[in-house]
Every structure is written in structure tokens, then in C-alpha cells.
Symmetry: C2
Subunit: 397 residues, 2 copies
């Protein structure tokens, strides 16, 4: 397995690469020849220009997700001789992926369930983030579904344990969405945030599984990436009979602590790839042009981690957000250049001056106009669009 | 619950504090009065001098460890308006701790099992970090135990799945340590690194539980903090009959990605406190004066997180390391000022020119000299000390 790092080391790049390889594998220079050959990491490239180094780790050292994290983002990062140690990418040999099933549904499976052939998905967040009672959540969800949402998503802060029974809330939302679907003849599903005690995740997902239009959602870095793998594997775990019966939506909250610093930690794209490996079907990849920290290149790299061909793993659907509203749709679509993703919409919909349904409709109208090739300029006379521009400001360029 | 942050926000400190409180609770300014009162976070202090702000989170929003992480180190940290957002401390109301049992053994329990009344523990790491066969590990462990180690610890990279059966290795080490104990009449235990798939942790710990001198060890941030809580709770989980039958050693590897940056993430002391909450009995707190990045103040703060009085939680034993050898002992003890911790020793012991047993003995001699009040200067004529100084350099001041 080849790991690429951006490093700065007090003794220079070559010494840093060597220290990194030793610290993160044998931990000593005095290992036996036999152990060193089988378990020692090796420096394979040093690029003085970019400050990048590539280290080859024996796959035998990387037998589980937690072990992988300790090996590639371990104690070397805590040593003061490194002024920068940032993991940029991981390249695994094909055989390493064998035990990992990845997403159960992937992009095709999600599109099939929603009946959406080839356009970006519209994913609306229930706001306020915490505290909505079942009937309040159901009523807001129905408005958003009428307005054109494909998925109604809990906020990442809406917890399985924040004072309202999440199963009761899911039932209420599920029923409301079924009524709307009977009206509109368009499916809309609810992703219920089940982030909570890790020993209750599978049971919680199973308790929602009789609700056909409810999918589980977790903050995969807060529960621990390997807990996502277990959830996706179902109660049988890896190799068991189980397996998630619905697509799993992954929200990257808490991972900013790992990915935001320019000097230490891991590129967000690496984390998105690990979420895919562990079974995330929809994976939050930050944003392009919104309020989040990702650069265009960074967000596109995270999206590529979700979608690029990789062993037997299905592609996951990247979802992006962070302050999007109707006026963001065109600019974001042009930056991405294809339709294989989802828009995540929060207050850019729910704070619309005419309410959440009008806000959602403003985005659906903008999307339709983009897909038709004429853009938002062709629908400026639609009241939902005009009022959105009044409230949110200029259309993004 | 009061969270203290160091922040820098493009719109100024007061706006940043307000944005943080909103983003990490309601997620909108248009919540109903009722929901805002029950679930909204509030700014309670802004200190323009230090750039610190204090935010009060409703405890009802923080019903599990994963939910807590999303709430206090969540998406606000990913928004580009924050140039710095670093969590410094958490203060919980007493009642919040009720569901958490913390360490099962704590400092007193560990001292009781080892028969050590009041001195720092000596914890030696098996090196090389990965790849030792059962007989090699057993032989090295026996040497270290003869030299005076109280605990023989796997490296954090020694995985449950790296090519050797960890149970077989644990049996071999356990047997070797029992032989040495019969010789020396001093107990020495082995902490076996069971970091690996999270759905196998409890079973792995149980499969070692018939070995009285083997304790489990995990990298708690790599498995996910809540998986530590489940492991410490035993197969019954929270409220169940189970519970760890041995002290659990926690190695903070991977957490540097969260704690190292000066601008983003979380102080290491917060993470140490969470490891205690989740049941860590021995908790790695970085180092003082060694190769790790922690400042003296930072390491002491992590140690305080382990030991300070806190609701019904027992104190955990902080352990520190990072390049220690016999010549480090006095300086580290003076910096700490008491004996309630453990020294973690790696190549500062195993690379001793006369071998691991002599290396371990050099540290035990140095410790005894410190405890006797005369310091290492009184034992410079002991060959283990003289040879250590030849190899490792000057005694730390």
C-alpha cells in the first residue's frame, strides 16, 4: 500500500521520510532482517519540489480499519520534529479490498430506489437541527417533499437521543412522505440520523427497516469509521448474512478536526474514500463555493474518492452543501461538470421568505432550468426564484 | 455543559461566538421560541484578550459520545469564516455523568493488582512494533520483566490482525511472565493490543480473560471513543452485568490528527478526559521533554484530565513517553511533582548497548535513585547507567 504525505521535517525531507517509515512500522532500527523484510515500511519517493513523500506499507500491517488509521496517521504525527505531516492519498493493492464490501446500493441503487435517472439529487435538511417533535418534523418534511425534495435529511446534530424518540419521529415523517408521494407520484425518502451509542446502531437501523421510505444516516467519524462498516454489514457483520437493507447516508461532521488543518491530519478526500470502503452509500464531501472550507479541487477530490473505479466497490453518491440556495445551483453544476451528486440544502431552503415549500421549489425550478440548458436567467420571473434572490442575494457566477 | 474554545472569526470574536452557538445547536435563526429555549446553545463569555469564548450547550443535546463530538467539534469547524476553532475544555453538570462508569479499576485498582504502593510505573514496549512471533515476544517480555518492568506493553501498531494470532502470542507472553514472577516475586503484566475490528473487541478481550496477567490495550481514537465505552462495559454494555475484567490501556495514536494543529481540533487534554469517561484505566497523555509535541503544560493538562476529581469517576493512570531512557527519569519526575503516573519506555530500553534487560534495569535503577532522593548522580558507577549514558547521551536536566 502506498501512502503519499506532505511533510516538513527539521532534519530535511529525506530524513523525515525515513523517520516516518520507521516510526510507523518497525519502531526501531534494530529489527531482525526477517521482520524488517516482512513488516518494514519503505520510502519509495521523495519530491523535494513539492515536499511530498511516498511510503510503501506492507499490507499485512493493515489488517483492519482501526489498525490502518494507527499505521498511516499515527504517532509520527505527534513527534515535534515534524512541522507538517499530512496524509494526501492511499493506494491499496486490489487484493487488500477483498474483505470490504463497500456501499450496498451505490449510485445506481439509490437512483433506482428514487426513480431518478440522471440528475443531481435534491436533499433538504430538517431545521431547526435539534428539537423537532414528530409532528413538526413530519409537517416540514411534507412541505419540502411537495416542493421537490428527493431526500429529507436530518441534521447531523439531530441525535438518536436528544429528547424525542427517533423511531416515533421516523414513523411520523414516513407516513407524511407516503401521503405526499400519493399526491405527487414522486418518491421522497427520509434519512434518519441514528448517530448515537455504537452498540445500538444496528438495532436502531433494524427498528426502522419496516419503513420503506426511511434510510439510516450517521456521522461516520463520530461513531468511528469501523462502526460504519459494522452497520453496513448488518447484524451478521462482515461475512454474515445481514447487510444494510437501505442506503446509508454519511455526514462527515467531526472529521474537520482531522482534515481542516493545512499542516496535520488527512486530506478530506482520504476520509471520503474510507467512508466508501466502510459502506457509505451517500457521502458528504463538503462544498464547492459555499461556506465550507473545501477548495474546488479538494471537494472534487473527495467526490472522486466516492466515484472512481476501485476494485469491486460500487461508487458512492457524493453530496455537497454549505449555504446553497436556488442561486447556487448553476455555478455548482458547472464546477462539477456532471450530474452524479446530490445538493444538500439547509437554510437556503427553509429560510425562504415564502416558507420551506417555496424555498424547495425555488431550487427545483433552478435545477430544471439548468438541466434544460437555459439556466436560472430563464426563470427569473417565477415568484419562488424572484423572492429567493430578494432574500439570499445575487445568483452565483 | 460549558465548552471553551479558542477562535478566530472573520467577522470578529462576538460574531464568531454567536455563529458557533447557532451552527452547533439550532442551525437556524428561525427556530420556535420553545425549541430555542430547550435546545439552543448560548454564548456565556467572550474574552477579547485571549480570543477565548465559552458556549453553554443544553445537556439534552449531548446524549451520547458520538453526538457530543458532533456537537462540540462539528461543522462550524469546517466553515471558512473560522480561521481558528479549537476546543480547549468541556465542563459538564454532575448529572450528565450518570450513564458513564469511567475506569473500572482506576489508579488504586491498578496499584493493587501490581502491588505497587506509591511510585511511578515502568511500562516497556515490545519492539519491533510489528511482526514479533509468540516466542520472540515472550523472550523479550521476560528480559524486560527481569530488568524491572511492571507492565510489558504492545506497540500501538501491533495489531490484532497482523499475521500472528494475538491470543497465541498473549499465551506465550503470559507464561513467560509467570515464570519470571516466580523468580523475582514481583508481578509484571502484559497489555495486549487488541485494536482491530470493533465488532470483535469484546470477544477478543474475553478470549484473553483467563490469562490473569494479560490486560487489553486499544488505540481508542482509532476504534472510536464509543467503542472503548462498549469494551469497558463488557458484553452487557452500559447497564449490563458485564464489564472489563482487567484494566484497559488506552493509546492515543491517531488522535494527533485532531489535537496537534494549533488552529483546529481539540486540545489533547479534552481527548484524555473523554478516554477516562469511556473507561480507560491507563491513558497515554503524550510526553514531557521527549520527542512528542506536547508542551509541559499540555501534558500536565492531559494528566489532570485523567486524575482530577470528577463526579463518581475513578481517576485513570496517565502514562507518558516519547524517547525516554534512564537519563530522562529525574527530569520528568521533577516536572510532574508526584508519583501518580507511568513511564512508557521503548527504544530507550530495547536499544541499550547491553540489551533490553540491562536497558530496563538502567531505568529501574534511575527510578530507585530518584525515589531515594539522591538522583542518578549517585548511581553513575552502575554499569547499566554508565553504558546508557554512553549510548543515549547526557542526562536530562
Amino acid at each position: 500500500m502506498i501512502a503519499t504525505y506532505s511533510i516538513s521535517f527539521r532534519g530535511g525531507l529525506a530524513s523525515g521520510a525515513s523517520a516516518l517509515a520507521i516510526e510507523q512500522s518497525l519502531g526501531t532500527k534494530s529489527a531482525s532482517r526477517e521482520i524488517a523484510d516482512e513488516h518494514g515500511a519503505r520510502v519509495v519517493e521523495i519530491d523535494e519540489g513539492s515536499g511530498m513523500v511516498r511510503i510503501a506499507f506492507p499490507a499485512v500491517n493493515l489488517g483492519s480499519i482501526p489498525t490502518l488509521l494507527v499505521a498511516v496517521v499515527g504517532e509520527a504525527l505527534e513527534t515535534q520534529d515534524f512541522d507538517r505531516l499530512r496524509l494526501i492519498s492511499l493506494e491499496f493493492p486490489e487484493a487488500w479490498f477483498a474483505p470490504y464490501q463497500g456501499p450496498r446500493f451505490g449510485i445506481k441503487g439509490i437512483r433506482g430506489l428514487l426513480g431518478i435517472a440522471d440528475r443531481p439529487l435534491l436533499i433538504a435538511i430538517l431545521k431547526p437541527s435539534v428539537g423537532l417533535a414528530p409532528d413538526e418534523a413530519a409537517s416540514l418534511a411534507a412541505s419540502l417533499a411537495r416542493g421537490g425534495a428527493d431526500i429529507i435529511k436530518d441534521d447531523e446534530l439531530a441525535s438518536a437521543v436528544s429528547g424525542h424518540d427517533p423511531v416515533e419521529r421516523a414513523r411520523a415523517v414516513s407516513e407524511a412522505l407516503a401521503w405526499v408521494e400519493a399526491e405527487t407520484l414522486r418518491p421522497c425518502v427520509y434519512t434518519a440520523n441514528i448517530t448515537g451509542p455504537v452498540d445500538g446502531l444496528t438495532e436502531m437501523a433494524e427498528s426502522l427497516s419496516d419503513l420503506g421510505n426511511v434510510w439510516p444516516m450517521v456521522a461516520e467519524h463520530a461513531i468511528g469509521l469501523d462502526a460504519l462498516r459494522v452497520l453496513a454489514g448488518g447484524s451478521g457483520g462482515i461475512g454474515g448474512d445481514g447487510g444494510a437493507s437501505r442506503p446509508i447516508l454519511c455526514h462527515r461532521a467531526y472529521s474537520g478536526a482531522v482534515s481542516r488543518s493545512a499542516d496535520f491530519g488527512t486530506d478530506a478526500a482520504v476520509l471520503a474514500g474510507l467512508a466508501r470502503l466502510c459502506g457509505g452509500d451517500l457521502i458528504h464531501c463538503g462544498g464547492i463555493g459555499g461556506k465550507l472550507f473545501d477548495t474546488h479541487e479538494g471537494a472534487l477530490a473527495s467526490m472522486a474518492s466516492c466515484r472512481r473505479p476501485l476494485a469491486h466497490l460500487k461508487p458512492s453518491l457524493p453530496i455537497i452543501g454549505g449555504g446553497y440556495w436556488a442561486g447556487s445551483v448553476g455555478a455548482v453544476m458547472r464546477a462539477i461538470g456532471d450530474n452524479g451528486f446530490g445538493f444538500v440544502l439547509g437554510s437556503g431552503v427553509t429560510d425562504h421568505p415564502d416558507g420551506a415549500e417555496a424555498g424547495m421549489r425555488s431550487v427545483a425550478i433552478a435545477l430544471e432550468a439548468e438541466l434544460g440548458g437555459e439556466g436560472i436567467e430563464s426563470v427569473l420571473d417565477r415568484p419562488e426564484i424572484a423572492r429567493a434572490i430578494d432574500h439570499y442575494g445575487a445568483v452565483w457566477q
